[in-house]
């Protein structure tokens, strides 16, 4: 291993367990893998994760080193996401203690315990919620970072935006408070000390907490009544400006439209249901939620809908692809095109659905095209089964024009 490392082949090493035992080799591989992540090399992040999660001591060292730099150097904030991905990959191991300590939780052991226990059990309970509610409504609340754990936030969203909410009514405001706190409150921390990298909290900004809380309460009331969300569309659109409400609505709408009877009517009438128009609006407002929206649309696109007529299912699939085109128009380009390309390759969906996609897409996009777009889209558009019947002899149809435009893009 050391000879491989000495010869400079660091990228060959990451996945081997023995490599990490030698500190010197570990550091070299750590360095080269981090470099590849920053350069955007495919697979680099997963190599990095494998390297440092080989064992708990390498995990701890890497997280310590990264956490010491977040507030200390230019670009340091990028490390937060990298640390999160590492934590996501080792969910089976018990690292909440480490994560919560890094989130500056040491001085609030009860709060740490409450968050850790709910995340570990994947379930919320009123007693722990009460502990958090009290702590965060106090004059000297714990750091907000301690609360903002992905697992915990997801539990709150799922239980509040459920189509069958089970939270006792008198506890509900506390759940809403905690979710709003995560969304709206931010803090100012001192520059880390040179000696031990510790920071002190200088200020807490809570101005938007009340408004967020109130908006969350209102949208939840509306969604509990079901029809209100559809009839009060302008009000709903206004609430969607809050990321946390949009995130919750993706969850709630997903549950709503997956009800077996939901699309029966929509498929027959060919009308796009209001719930999907809300999804479009979220895509417009929140680029950071594009991935979640695409995941939902993929799930809907691939669902068998056994209760629906085959033709109605085809109409629905086109309707879901229309939503994906909306996503493309909002900037979520490569993930959508990558998915549609792979869905076509599976050969289990009627080709007319993809023809519809190509036609609708070519209707809204124009050059200059990026190399990546051409790489993703050309296989579909140049496939005669999909687009043969769309071409005209004069070459002025959208397909021929696109193919012509692609010739100007230098695809290596």
């Amino acid at each position: 291993i050391k000879s491989i490392s000495d010869a400079g082949f660091q990228s060959e090493i990451p996945t081997t367990t023995t490599a990490v035992n030698q500190m010197e080799v570990f550091i070299r591989v750590f360095d080269s893998t981090m470099g590849r992540i920053v350069d955007g090399a495919p697979g680099a992040l997963s190599d990095f994760t494998k390297l440092i999660t080989n064992g708990e001591c390498t995990y701890l060292a890497a997280q310590m080193i990264m956490s010491s730099l977040i507030h200390e150097c230019p670009g340091g904030m990028n490390l937060v996401k990298i640390m999160q991905d590492v934590n996501e990959s080792i969910k089976d191991h018990q690292t909440m203690q480490t994560q919560l300590s890094i989130a500056k939780g040491a001085a609030w052991p009860k709060v740490m315990q409450a968050v850790a226990s709910m995340v570990a059990k994947k379930s919320l309970n009123p007693a722990d919620i009460q502990i958090l509610f009290q702590a965060y409504s106090s004059a000297d609340p714990p750091p907000v970072g301690l609360l903002r754990f992905k697992g915990f936030a997801e539990l709150l969203i799922e239980s509040l935006f459920s189509t069958d909410p089970k939270i006792p009514t008198d506890h509900r405001p506390k759940y809403i408070f905690l979710l709003s706190y995560m969304a709206a409150v931010f803090e100012k921390w001192s520059v880390p000390s040179k000696k031990d990298h510790t920071q002190t909290r200088l200020d807490i900004f809570k101005e938007d907490l009340k408004f967020t809380q109130e908006s969350l309460r209102k949208i939840l009331e509306m969604s509990a009544k079901g029809n209100d969300v559809v009839s009060e569309l302008p009000a709903v659109f206004n609430f969607l400006k809050f990321g946390v409400i949009s995130l919750g609505m993706i969850h709630w709408i997903g549950k709503t439209v997956k009800e077996p009877s939901y699309f029966k009517f929509a498929g027959e009438s060919r009308n796009t249901p209001a719930h999907l128009i809300i999804i479009d609006e979220i895509a417009t407002l929140h680029p950071t939620l594009h991935r979640r929206i695409l995941d939902l649309l993929v799930e809907l696109f691939e669902a068998p809908w056994p209760q629906l007529d085959v033709l109605i299912r085809l109409e629905l699939q086109k309707m879901f692809l229309d939503r994906m085109i909306h996503l493309v128009s909002c900037g979520c380009v490569l993930p959508v095109l990558g998915y549609v390309r792979s869905a076509y390759a599976k050969q289990d969906t009627d080709v007319s659905v993809f023809r519809h996609f190509v036609l609708e897409l070519l209707d809204v996009i124009a050059p200059p095209y990026s190399v990546a777009l051409v790489k993703h889209l050309l296989p579909l558009v140049s496939d005669n089964t999909v687009t043969g019947m769309l071409k005209h002899a004069d070459g002025k149809d959208p397909v021929s024009v696109f193919l012509e435009d692609c010739k100007n893009v230098d695809v290596v």
């Binding site: 035992n21 981090m34 803090e187 085109i325 380009v333 209707d363 809204v364 095209y369």
Partner: protein, 197 residues
């Protein structure tokens, strides 16, 4: 938990698992009493490096209220581990844990292993500088972006770098018409209201 163990090193090796097992589940934490830790202290230098590391990491699973009572014993083992000359992973892990018994938090004032600690920090800094030189925006976006109000997110993490442009938008897709129609219907009481589904 009362424990009468004749062969402490062997017991630790058995309990903490073979050297291929590199993660700690905390199952030995309840056994770590004052008396037992004293015995561990005596045999610590002779333990295999992998066992030393896993023993140290087990400290993270000790219930907080016990940390205070066990503090002197834990700290003396940690101190010995920091000075371990056979394996630097033992020493580095112990240094991170130095303040754990007293405060429940990690120590980043790394002294014994400052050379490796700083080397890795500098490596990361060098790579991040490349990113920051392009622009100061966020290239790797943490999950909080899905959840937080924009103002709070930007104040905490900074602005997100805009996505790459892949084409020119010739016209808005049909979704724009649908949106306008739906809003018109919703605000016009004379028209039948949209039904879900």
């Amino acid at each position: 938990m009362a424990l009468n163990i004749a062969d402490v090193p062997q017991w630790l090796i058995n309990k903490l698992g073979p050297s291929e097992k590199t993660w700690v589940d905390g199952s030995i934490a309840p056994f770590l009493t004052k008396d037992f830790l004293k015995e561990v202290h005596d045999c610590f230098p002779d333990l295999p490096a992998a066992v030393k590391i896993k023993l140290l990491l087990s400290f993270l699973h000790i219930v907080r209220r016990n940390l205070d009572t066990l503090r002197p014993e834990l700290e003396s083992i940690i101190e010995m581990a920091i000075n371990d000359e056979q394996d630097q992973w033992v020493s580095l892990t112990a240094e991170f844990l130095k303040t754990f018994p007293a405060k429940g938090e990690f120590n980043l004032n790394v002294l014994e292993n400052s050379a490796v600690f700083n080397e890795m920090r500098n490596d990361i800094k060098k790579h991040l500088k490349k990113l920051a030189d392009k622009n100061s925006e966020l290239h790797f976006v943490p999950y909080e972006a899905e959840l937080m109000n924009r103002k709070a997110f930007v104040a905490t993490f900074g602005n997100i770098a805009p996505p790459q442009k892949h084409f020119t938008l010739k016209q808005k897709p049909k979704s724009a018409t649908l949106r306008a129609e739906a809003l018109a219907k919703a605000s016009d009481p004379s028209k039948p209201r949209l039904q879900p589904g």
